[in-house]
């Protein structure tokens, strides 16, 4: 395997296709378990900004740095603090977090599933208690990122080396032609995020233990004036936006995960109350 370490955006452009490496907290296990076939690793740490400047967050900023930064809206701070373990947060970057792979056990065990390019989702007829209750017809995998749900509620914008797009445009439901959940080109790199400052925001998370677990359901709420935005993690193959708890009526749970809807309803109600 080849490791490239570009020191400028020009060198990055010249690097060609490869798997991007920043904190390595997801890339290393994926490579070790041979889940993705890759010949080139591109270490982007020298070209991706790190640090917070007002409402701008460098994509190379670690979750540990974000969770304690007073400039960051509460929803994002709380989402970062509730993610993973201190060790992982000290390494994992916000850019990498937005692009992390699913935790679906079938995908992680390399079943030839829809997301691996196969023709079916094994979770739908298998064990799916941790899986999606929305948009789960092709794949029932659930998006694991806590910060992504917060950024969705916060209506963040993403700047890459090619363009600027909203966080909701960053994600796409996988299709037969394209199994990716992120709408970026293979050589596109998230450089920074622009996060508007809400009047109030919060992130609530239900998990199987107190710490170090992916969200069964995560709910972020942010209020801008009278407008309240909601972002959910753990309920769909991508971070999921809802206008209100009523949106839960459209969920399509699998036989063993309807409980997530009940949790989501309670957390939405609490989050709305918290942001006033």
């Amino acid at each position: 395997m080849k490791l490239l370490q570009p020191s400028s955006l020009e060198e990055l452009d010249a690097a060609g296709p490869g798997l991007l490496l920043a904190g390595g907290t997801d890339v290393v296990p994926i490579l070790r378990n041979k889940l993705i076939d890759v010949d080139t690793l591109v270490d982007i740490r020298a070209v991706v900004p790190r640090g917070v400047d007002g409402t701008r967050i460098g994509a190379g900023t670690t979750l540990a740095e974000l969770e304690v930064d007073p400039q960051i809206p509460a929803a994002l701070r709380e989402a970062c603090a509730s993610a993973a373990s201190p060790q992982l947060r000290a390494m994992g970057t916000i850019g990498g977090n937005l692009r992390q792979a699913t935790r679906c056990w079938y995908w992680r065990m390399h079943y030839p599933c829809f997301l691996h390019g196969g023709d079916r989702c094994y979770a739908q007829t298998g064990v799916h208690r941790e899986h999606s209750v929305f948009a789960n017809d092709r794949t029932a995998s659930a998006h694991p990122s806590d910060p992504a749900a917060a950024l969705l509620a916060l209506n963040a914008r993403v700047r890459t080396n090619r363009r600027e797009l909203s966080i909701s445009e960053l994600y796409r439901l996988p299709t037969n032609d394209n199994r990716d959940v992120v709408a970026l080109d293979y050589d596109e790199v998230i450089l920074d995020l622009e996060v508007p400052t809400p009047e109030a925001s919060t992130y609530l998370k239900a998990m199987d233990r107190q710490k170090y677990a992916f969200a069964l359901v995560g709910v972020a709420a942010a209020r801008f004036g009278t407008d309240v935005r909601l972002g959910l993690s753990g309920v769909a193959p991508i971070p999921w936006a809802l206008d209100s708890a009523a949106g839960l009526d459209d969920a399509t749970p699998l036989p063993d995960n309807a409980y997530k809807i009940q949790i989501a309803r309670a957390l939405i109600e609490r989050a709305l109350e918290a942001v006033g």
Binding site: R103, W105, Y106, R108, M109, Y122, T125, G126, V127, R129, A206, D208, R209, Q210, K211, Y212, A213, L216, D256, N257, Y259, Q262, I263, A266, L267
Partner: protein, 753 residues
């Protein structure tokens, strides 16, 4: 003179008769209560070296020229290997030897569970071995797995004969009952997940085999390995100085030991066979799932009249039925009991003993059932248990050697009495409650077990016995016992363990037996040495032996006079005082058991199904406590492991293929420190006057037994919801809450006309 007697040995409910040699003069028990060193808290004698990383575990061992093994394992739960060719693998870089099922009988062509070992490769590094395995040419005929334990029982796919137990007449018992409760409980499969995975390093020296292994039973590994290889037992030396956890799964050598031994023989090199975390969680054992269909009958005053249990256990492809019916048979004074236990043979990894196997599961069922009965009878759950207390063992019709369960209940009472106060803390969606559950288990230990004590002219003592400390702190307890008997400060006593070639036979560290088996032997050996020191001192200082004793590093005379022990031993020069001791028999015709009760305080978020445990009070009766600090650490470990079993741990199987879906620690969720509540340990600490020269029973298993039932009962107290299935995941909690709400509605609704 040595005396040969025939005695009864009991390990976890199984009695065997055996000959043992006992010393002529048994040593009298010490008085109850804390002594100079025994009964007082002591930090682990090897704590610093463990914390500093200096302790060499099997996983740390590096021998010159050592090879590493990767094992080819079945990806299928049930399959047949139709073709296996390792020619390309054996030519891969760094490969020194390969093994197929033709070479070794622990390898198979007919795997019955995912992870079953098919072939093995030894190479210069683990990575080279693993890469070589990818070159194995193998073809499978995949067979339909049988996964459902009820279906297996119906089909007659059983591990062994069903076990039936009857006493009294349950039909009559139910006829006498005013109230009957019938319920089904389920427990899940959980994995041991010791920090150190199962592993051995094998090295031949001529015809002598050195086995460095992570084990709970040095002498068992020696015997089983010798038998497997057709060697005299003294040709196998087993070494385990430090051990990274076993919890019951490391009682035997395991296939990895035989693979390493064979590959070491073929290559002439030391060979390590160490399992990865994934292999660990596929193949080395588990606490098997259970389905418990239970029925209880009682009179209006709470007197139990009948207990019936039908237990189905998903044992796996091999293994044994855990004693899930044990608590139902043993815990209460119920004259009519009928149980049947089925061990389903299914296409899952073999089970292994796991910290109080069967009793953890059976106590969850029985103690939840008792609380459901208490609710129906409107009797206080603690009072219900007191009313059904048993003064003697009804299974074998024997008296208990000692039993202080009523005292445990008394000490639990102040916590239990806070029920109203705790319930009053309920606020919004958070409902608070208290629950309790009783504990019964074995823990007598037994003979044979031996120890030697050597005292040099410098007045320092070395305890030598080939036992293992599996992380429970027994090495520290042995140092305390020897120091107490020798009247030496504990820092003048060293303990040498962990090597079958250095020291006499020592018991298995399973069934809560290390301290009750080994402690009396160590004390007897120290007593033998102390006697000799006193004899020498009596001659040196012209005193009668009966007035002399050893205390605080001195020989002390009752009629005045005190001399440092090293002044006496200093006379010896290179001569040494050698003491030897053996574990005496267990009391004949008595049942030696441990007892206890735990009280749990919980809070339940009835909207999201989140459960928070605020406090666990653990009151246990295990006889004399040697080291209160080590004991509370054991209790805390047991409770935490119990909470993992209660809430978040669950080995998940794909229902179609039988694949284990959560083999790694991100997906298989053990509790973290953030999940640990306040744990209050209260040990009765009264010696069992009939048991050995110590009166100590084992404590390893008791604290994990009642935790899940106490928590489930607290949840019922807080919310009225009956959780009947472990783990109490969000979905199980929300299901139980919805069911309780439904029941409430039916109760309130006017009866249809």
């Amino acid at each position: 003179m040595a005396r040969l007697i025939r005695t009864e040995k009991e390990v976890e409910g199984n009695y065997t008769e055996q000959w043992i040699v006992v010393d002529e003069d048994p040593v009298a028990q010490w008085p109850s209560g804390p002594l100079e060193i025994v009964g007082r808290p002591l930090a682990r004698v090897d704590g610093a070296e463990r914390a500093r990383g200096e302790a060499v575990y099997t996983a740390d061992l590096q021998l010159p020229g050592m090879l590493h093994v990767a094992v080819l394992r079945s990806p299928h739960a049930h399959a047949r290997v139709t073709q296996l060719d390792l020619a390309r693998a054996s030519e891969a870089p760094g490969v020194r030897a390969v093994l197929t099922p033709d070479d070794l009988d622990v390898l198979t062509r007919e795997p019955g569970y995912p992870g079953a070992a098919i072939a093995a490769v030894a190479a210069d590094t683990y990575d080279l071995a693993a890469e070589a395995l990818e070159l194995a040419d193998i073809e499978w005929e995949v067979l339909q797995p049988l996964l459902d334990p009820d279906e297996a029982v119906q089909q007659g796919s059983l591990i062994d004969e069903p076990e039936r137990y009857d006493r009294g007449n349950v039909e009559q018992g139910f006829a006498e009952a005013d109230v009957v409760v019938e319920t089904e409980y389920r427990t899940q499969t959980v994995l041991h997940n010791s920090m150190e995975t199962h592993q051995s390093v094998c090295q031949w020296e001529g015809d002598l085999l050195n086995v460095y292994t992570s084990t709970q039973y040095i002498w068992g590994v020696r015997a089983e390995t010798a038998a497997k290889l057709g060697l005299p037992e003294d040709k196998v030396r087993v070494v385990c100085h430090y051990m990274g956890g076993g919890f019951g799964a490391k009682n035997h050598p395991g296939e990895y030991t035989f693979i390493a031994a064979e590959l070491a023989k073929r290559t002439g090199r030391p060979v390590r066979c160490a399992l990865t975390r994934r292999e660990e969680n596929l193949t080395t054992g588990n606490r098997h799932a259970t389905i418990q269909r239970l029925k209880v009958g009682a009179k209006a005053d709470g007197t139990l009249t009948a207990l019936v249990g039908d237990f189905v256990m998903a044992v796996g492809w091999r293994g044994f039925k855990s004693w899930t019916a044990g608590p139902m048979k043993m815990l209460y004074h119920c004259p009519n009991v009928s149980t049947v236990e089925y061990g389903a043979k299914v296409n899952t990894g073999p089970n292994a003993a796991f910290r109080a196997p069967g009793f953890v599961e059976g106590t969850f069922g029985l103690e939840c059932l008792l609380d459901e009965l208490a609710a129906k009878l409107e009797i206080d759950p603690l009072e219900l248990r007191r009313r059904n207390h048993s003064d003697s063992d009804l299974v074998d019709d024997r008296p208990y050697s000692s039993k202080n369960l009523i005292e445990c209940y008394r000490r639990a009472e102040p916590h239990w009495e806070k029920r109203d106060e705790v319930r009053a803390r309920s606020n919004g969606p958070w409902k608070h409650g208290i629950g309790m559950a009783s504990q019964i288990w074995f823990g007598a230990g037994g003979p044979p077990s031996y120890a030697w004590v050597r005292v040099g002219s410098d007045g320092r003592a070395l305890v030598v016995t080939a036992m293992q400390d599996i992380g429970t702190g027994t090495k520290t307890a042995m140092a305390q016992i020897a120091a107490e008997e020798l009247g030496l400060p504990v820092d003048r006593v060293q303990v040498s363990i962990g090597d079958s070639a250095r020291g006499p036979y020592a018991a298995i560290s399973a069934g809560s037996s290390t301290t009750p088996s080994m402690g009396p032997a160590v004390r007897a050996a120290a007593h033998d040495a102390a006697r000799q020191i006193i004899e020498i001192a009596a001659q040196r200082y012209h005193k009668e032996e009966r007035v002399l004793s050893l205390k605080g590093g001195n020989v002390v005379s009752a009629d005045g006079g005190s001399w440092p022990i090293e002044e006496v031993t200093g006379l010896l020069d290179d001569a040494q005082i050698l003491g030897k001791g053996a574990r005496g028999p267990n009391p004949t015709g008595m049942r030696v058991l441990t007892f206890g009760v735990q009280v749990a305080e919980v809070a339940v978020d009835v909207e999201t199904g989140e459960v928070r445990v605020d406090k666990i009070v653990a009151v246990h009766d295990v006889g004399r406590v040697i080291n209160p600090l080590g004991a509370s650490s054991q209790v805390e470990g047991g409770v935490i492991q119990g909470l993992g079993h209660t809430f978040s741990e669950d080995r998940l199987l794909d229902p179609n293929t039988g694949a284990v879906l959560n083999q790694t620690l991100d997906a298989y969720k053990m509790p973290t420190i953030a999940d640990v509540p306040e744990i209050v340990t209260d040990l009765i600490d009264v010696p069992d006057e009939h048991l050995t020269n110590l009166g100590s029973k084992g404590l390893g298993e008791p604290p994990i037994i009642p935790t899940s039932a106490a928590v489930a009962n607290a949840i019922r107290d807080a919310t009225g919801a009956d959780v009947r299935s472990l783990p109490i995941s969000r979905e199980e909690m929300l299901r139980a809450l919805a069911e309780a709400k439904e029941k409430e509605k039916t109760r309130e609704a006017p009866t249809a006309v």
